[in-house]
């Protein structure tokens, strides 16, 4: 079959839009489950961290994660790349090294040509190769809507796990990629985004967090997470709530796609952004100077977003320079950890 242009985003209901189950719903579903106990399970489901960690020996632990979703871009190869980069990101956010991966596929074989599936997986493989990961298998089901992602396993030293917890007063917070990809994806689906922006955002989403992770290894990093479906403030809230610390974010320093701000004002905001605000909005105090559109982008669900790194204040500038030097040009200090008010996010 000749390569007929197919717009993958038109084949699914939710792209950036409604893909992830609302965090509040998920919390209710998982609340009070009777979970098996194992002393070697260092980071489990109860910690709601980026990935689970299981100790094998004193100097080796497995770090495991899974992520998959419907397409947020039209090009199958790019979709494969983004889905893979997104899944691998959770391992990097824990400070681990990804080693093996398995494809997770839901494919509408009745409506889409099988060559599209092949192209998606080729895109995924290109990112696995870049990450030094081997594909060991996978699982494919027929479904009415396309979904793709990876289950990834990596190695990590049990003493060097970077969780979301462990913020320390004075730490600076560094974000490594611009936010607003959920809103931009909505605009792509609506046919409003031009090719140059689509290319720019696609490239950013397909970029592995590998260089960022390797760079931060040499710095006194206290906590780390990656920014995905719960949005910048949703993931930040996971770091802050019950941490005994607060954070102060300077909205003007948070890297954002300017176009996302415009589309936010027009109401092209994915459902997930509202879910994120409903779930975590009560922990956030916005200054009067923070406009509605900026608030919306701060809650916008991200696909394959950047790392959010808490690093000792004295080394923060140096880490930003080191990130810039490896080509992570958007990296910026966006805020700091404060002693109080505890468990609050202040945005001004």
């Amino acid at each position: 079959m000749p390569n007929k242009p197919i717009r993958l985003t038109q084949t699914v209901k939710g792209s950036g839009c409604a893909a992830k189950l609302a965090a509040g719903d998920l919390a209710r579903a998982l609340c009070g489950l009777d979970l098996p106990v194992d002393p070697d399970l260092i980071v489990g489901i109860d910690k709601a961290d980026d990935a689970g960690v299981y100790r094998i020996s004193d100097d080796l632990a497995l770090v495991q994660t899974i992520d998959f979703f419907p397409p947020m871009v039209d090009d199958p190869y790019c979709f494969g790349q983004i889905a893979a980069a997104n899944a691998l990101s959770d391992i990097y956010a824990m400070g681990g090294i990804p080693k093996t991966a398995m494809n997770v596929v839901a494919f509408p074989a009745k409506t889409l040509d099988m060559s599209i599936l092949r192209t998606i997986i080729e895109g995924g493989l290109s990112k696995m190769r870049e990450a030094g990961v081997v594909l060991v298998g996978g699982h494919t089901v027929e479904d009415s809507e396309l979904k793709y992602g990876l289950s990834v396993t990596g190695f990590i030293h049990p003493g060097r796990i970077l969780t979301k917890r462990n913020l320390q007063t004075g730490d600076r917070l560094i974000l490594t990629k611009p936010i607003g990809t959920g809103i931009v994806s909505t605009a792509i689906k609506a046919g409003l985004a031009d090719q140059s922006l689509t290319d720019r955002v696609t490239q950013a989403m397909a970029t592995l967090n590998r260089n960022a992770a390797l760079t931060m290894e040499d710095f006194p990093v206290h906590a780390c997470t990656d920014i995905t479906g719960f949005g910048f403030l949703g993931h930040l809230a996971e770091m802050v709530v019950d941490s005994g610390h607060g954070v102060r974010i300077t909205a003007a320093h948070v890297p954002m796609y300017p176009e996302a701000l415009e589309w936010a004002a027009m109401g092209l905001i994915p459902t997930g952004a509202y879910n994120n605000r409903n779930f975590r909005g009560s922990f956030v105090d916005f200054g009067t100077n923070v406009s509605q559109r900026v608030q919306d982008v701060l809650f916008d669900p991200q696909t394959s977003g950047g790392l959010l790194i808490a690093v000792a204040a004295t080394e923060a500038e140096r880490l930003v320079h080191a990130l810039h030097a490896t080509g992570i040009e958007s990296a910026a200090i966006v805020g700091e950890v404060i002693a109080e008010p505890i468990d609050r996010i202040i945005v001004d």
């Binding site: 209901k13 605009a187 689906k189 176009e259 415009e262 905001i269 952004a273 509202y274 100077n289 559109r293």
Partner: protein, 203 residues
């Protein structure tokens, strides 16, 4: 005339796009939209407010019934492509001035700065014909903290001149939180303004 759009069953961004299409075609004085999910409702509210409609929502069971009316609802332009409200002024014609730089013309920048400042100061001589003043690219610096032009622009705004600053430009120059005068705007507003204006002057 009231337009009614049934957007039940539609997820984001479909309702916003549907309304946008209607506004571009008809620019109705009032529009009623039916929506059945909260996110789409919030998006529709943002969009209509952005298009200068006053909105009122009634919740009937799972359905949001949003009624949007234009601020000066009586005389909607018959065939306006979009719906930014036109300030009612006794103007002979509507002139839109685009300021695309922080200085005027090419050559010595010191001279260019002085000329531009003088230009902004003299703009009021256009009287009520000056309808809208749009700042893009480096021009947005005039609307931000630290600009000596702010009081001049405030005076113009007091006379009813609409002052718009390009949001993407402000963001690019890290000035979004420093804007002192004017409304943060976007390319759709700017392009729509070009169509509505009798003449567009670009500096």
């Amino acid at each position: 005339m009231t337009n009614e759009l049934d957007c039940r069953g539609l997820g984001c961004p479909a309702p916003v796009l549907k309304i946008r299409e209607t506004l571009e075609k008809e620019a109705p004085a009032a529009i009623t939209v039916l929506i059945d999910n909260e996110a789409a409702w919030q998006n529709v509210c943002r969009f209509l407010e952005h298009q200068k409609y006053t909105i009122n929502t009634e919740k009937q069971g799972p359905v949001f019934r949003v009624v949007g009316t234009r601020a000066e609802g009586t005389a909607a332009p018959a065939k306006a492509p979009s719906a930014p409200t036109v300030t009612e002024r006794k103007a002979g014609k509507k002139i839109m001035v685009m300021v695309t730089s922080d200085h005027m013309g090419h050559g010595d920048d010191g001279l260019g700065d002085m000329l531009m400042f003088n230009f902004l100061k003299t703009l009021k001589e256009m009287g009520p014909d000056l309808w809208r003043l749009v700042f893009v690219n480096n021009g947005v610096t005039f609307t931000a903290e630290g600009s000596e032009a702010v009081p001049i622009l405030q005076e113009l705004a007091g006379e009813g001149v609409e002052i718009l600053a390009c949001g993407a430009c402000l963001a690019y120059l890290h000035l979004l939180d420093k804007i002192q005068i004017g409304e943060v705007s976007n390319m759709l507003d700017i392009v729509t303004g070009m169509q509505l204006a009798d003449s567009v002057v670009t500096i």
